[in-house]
Subunit: 105 residues, 2 copies
């Protein structure tokens, strides 16, 4: 893939993660969501900071201690390491997110 | 700024660089070009790797040893550290690039 919008699934069972770049301490991923939502009782929680940019579509994001917000294209934010979070995506408007992880190890 | 497309200049004398995120070894910048082109005899050359994603508009990019290519929205690539490069932007189609620098120090 050399264009971020190539090979987009129309509908998939799970979120599609594609690693675009990786170096010591940094990883850039494309995340395509086609209606998936994080289960209420299984929030994400990872060991690295995650900087997220929503490129197209719409999504909701809940972050522990910060509440829920709606994201529109161009919105970006930081999800701190070890902070529980959940993503909600409307299947009518698939969301293409670009995530950059900064590993803390 | 919390949305990448906020506060966009229509026309500016120089490229507009805005730092969106910075951590040890990583920096994410928004670069807005409104027709600027790198002077032929003054190519860019930096001490860090630069991963670039073109979000809107159109741009040409020349990289030493790789030649010139046209970028369309969604195209991404790596400009290695210490590699001369030049950017060409059509003033009719301002380009909004997202650059992620990985410092090697």
């Amino acid at each position: 893939m050399i264009n971020l919008f190539d090979n987009l699934p129309c509908q998939a069972e799970e979120e599609l993660l594609t690693e675009l770049f990786a170096r010591k301490g940094v990883r850039i991923e494309r995340i395509v969501s086609t209606g998936q939502s994080t289960p209420e009782d299984q929030p994400y929680k990872q060991e690295s900071d995650e900087w997220v940019l929503l490129l197209t579509g719409a999504a909701g994001l809940w972050i522990e201690g910060e509440g829920e917000r709606d994201l529109r294209p161009g919105d970006y934010l930081l999800i701190p390491a070890r902070r529980c979070h959940r993503v909600y995506v409307d299947s009518e408007k698939p969301a293409y997110r670009l995530a950059r992880h900064t590993l803390l190890r």
